[in-house]
């Protein structure tokens, strides 16, 4: 790795070495994993719900993480606890998304209808937002600012130890994903036809929920609710390569998601200046016009 960056040169300062291996490299890898992971999660949700507006967070995962973080940042002072560390925020985010996920998975045992699950996910999201709203109303401007910063997303707050956890989970999700490529394609025919083709819908739905949870949950825990990538990248892929076959679509969204978020992160650093923009603002600023332009050109948006 040292050779790759020309760091074997003893003249290179220790600082430069530290910046590259401990700050820039983890950040770039995080951008790649986040872009790819959220794009996969978004694709799965769009296929499962047969809805072009579905994204990785329709099941309420980001709202759950947001609630956890809000509780820690804004609720902590109410309990008499002082300043909360970055580690505390990550823990809160992990716990928040896990709680929502368990809730969704428990309810999916009872809900037979896929659309019902979608609505439950949206309701859980609204519930969390409402609690966050109440908490914000009673909190100080300093706390509010911290929460807003978290909700704008960040790829930089990551160390190697945490990164390895995400890499591990990412590959776990990929293995599960290969297992359900065929059922995913069959789902394109609608649930009734998929059922008649011998596809186990229940099992497939479970695995889809688990993969989405692993990816969106772990990413949101560390990077915050990164907007737009999960919704837009599957559409971009289908517009660029006119296919809906998941065998082709999955590698495409992985590549496209990773590239897009890396690029957005690059832009967010505002080259040649000391300022940096929140990543969520950049993903939407770049992504939204791109999607609009593609739709204007192709004149349709399918899923």
């Amino acid at each position: 790795m040292d050779a790759l960056f020309g760091l074997e040169n003893p003249q290179t300062g220790k600082t430069v070495r530290y910046i590259i291996t401990e700050l820039r490299l983890p950040r770039a890898i995080m951008a790649i994993l986040t872009g790819a992971g959220l794009a996969i999660a978004g694709l799965l949700m769009q296929t499962l719900f047969r809805n072009p507006l579905a994204g990785p967070f329709v099941l309420g995962i980001s709202s759950g993480a947001g609630l956890g973080v809000a509780l820690v940042i804004m609720g902590a002072t109410a309990l008499g606890i002082g300043a909360i560390s970055g580690f505390g925020i990550i823990t809160a985010s992990v716990v928040g998304s896990l709680v929502v996920l368990l809730l969704i998975i428990l309810m999916s045992l009872r809900i037979k209808d896929t659309m019902g699950l979608l609505i439950v996910g949206l309701m859980v999201g609204s519930l969390s937002s409402a609690v966050v709203g109440i908490l914000s109303y009673f909190s100080s401007s300093e706390q509010l600012k911290r929460y807003v910063f978290w909700s704008m997303g960040s790829l930089g707050n990551i160390n190697w130890a945490d990164l390895w956890i995400i890499i591990l989970l990412f590959f776990l999700a990929l293995i599960l994903l290969i297992w359900i490529i065929k059922p995913l394609n069959a789902l394109l025919l609608g649930e009734s036809y998929a059922l008649s083709l011998g596809i186990n819908i229940k099992k497939t739905r479970w695995i889809i929920i688990i993969i989405t949870s692993i990816l969106a949950g772990s990413i949101t825990a560390y990077a915050g609710p990164i907007a737009f990538i999960g919704l837009a990248v599957p559409h971009l892929s289908r517009l660029i390569l006119p296919t809906v076959n998941h065998k082709i679509l999955i590698p495409t969204v992985v590549l496209l998601g990773a590239t897009l978020l890396l690029f957005c992160d690059l832009v967010s650093q505002l080259p040649f200046s000391n300022y940096s923009l929140p990543i969520n603002a950049v993903t939407s600023l770049l992504g939204a016009p791109l999607i609009i332009w593609l739709i204007m050109r192709k004149r349709n948006l399918h899923f």
Binding site: R50, I181, K182, N185, L188, L189, S196, G198, P242, H302
Partner: protein, 253 residues
């Protein structure tokens, strides 16, 4: 053979249609289900296809209870043509047929040479060759209906259950398609059971008729059915008359 034993079909606890005893459908038969709207034609089809809406009774395929088959085994016995169209409109006709070979492909859905052969044959015989790369969303209702029927044929099952396969088709295409399906049954030893509103076509093409009237199911050969003159009873209207299975409209002007 599909055998239905003392079946009651319907929704929740509400029985829509029932039959005491055994209803048996042999191989190589072209069978239609007729009855008024809401009489339970689709419900009966779904009960056979997936056990959905089966309140009481048992379904046997080749003398084995339907519940004792695995999902993949089932998909090699029964294919369906449904009225719902919730599939992705971005699928091309060929992709749609390729996906329907799922029961025979490996874990990742790789198609073998034989699969392509079956698909090409179906594209040929249903006159879809020139449409194979079109997206499903760009097809007309009639074209789509032909694609969905070809889809069921591609699944290559002993039994095909169809819910109103000729809706959306022009009268000439209706006649051509039903004749083609009947010949397919007789030549390949397959059985097609389809729900329909096209009484006259059913009377002239089918081997057997399943009629549902006031909640009770009846199953007769076509000649017995025509003789019994049940049609007038099932579809009572002073403006419609049935004679030997021929429909006549009577409007006083």
């Amino acid at each position: 053979m599909i055998r239905l034993e003392n079946i009651q079909v319907g929704y929740g606890h509400c029985v829509v249609a029932a039959f005491d005893g055994d209803l048996a459908f042999a191989k190589a038969k072209f069978i239609s289900i007729i009855g008024t709207n809401g009489s339970g034609k689709s419900t009966l089809l779904r009960a056979m296809a997936s056990g959905q809406h089966l309140i009481n009774g048992n379904v046997f395929i080749e003398n084995k209870n339907w519940n004792d088959y695995t999902a993949v085994e089932r998909s090699k016995f029964i294919s369906v043509v449904l009225t719902e169209r919730s599939f992705s409109h971005f699928l091309s006709v060929r992709e749609l047929l390729e996906l329907s070979r799922a029961p025979y492909t490996n874990y990742i859905g790789k198609l073998a040479a034989e699969d392509h052969e079956v698909i090409n044959e179906a594209l040929e015989s249903f006159d879809l060759k020139q449409l194979e790369n079109r997206k499903a969303g760009t097809l007309s209702d009639g074209q789509l209906q032909r694609v969905l029927i070809a889809r069921a044929i591609v699944q290559d099952t002993e039994y095909i259950l169809m819910d109103e396969p000729t809706s959306h088709l022009d009268i000439n295409h209706k006649a051509d398609l039903l004749l083609q399906l009947r010949d397919y049954c007789h030549e390949h030893g397959k059985t097609i059971i389809y729900a329909t509103h096209e009484i006259q076509l059913a009377m002239s093409l089918c081997d057997e008729i399943v009629s549902i009237h006031k909640g009770s199911i009846a199953h007769e050969t076509i000649s017995d059915f025509v003789k019994s003159n049940k049609l007038q009873e099932i579809f009572p209207s002073k403006h419609v008359a049935f004679e030997n299975g021929i429909v006549q409209f009577k409007f006083d002007s």
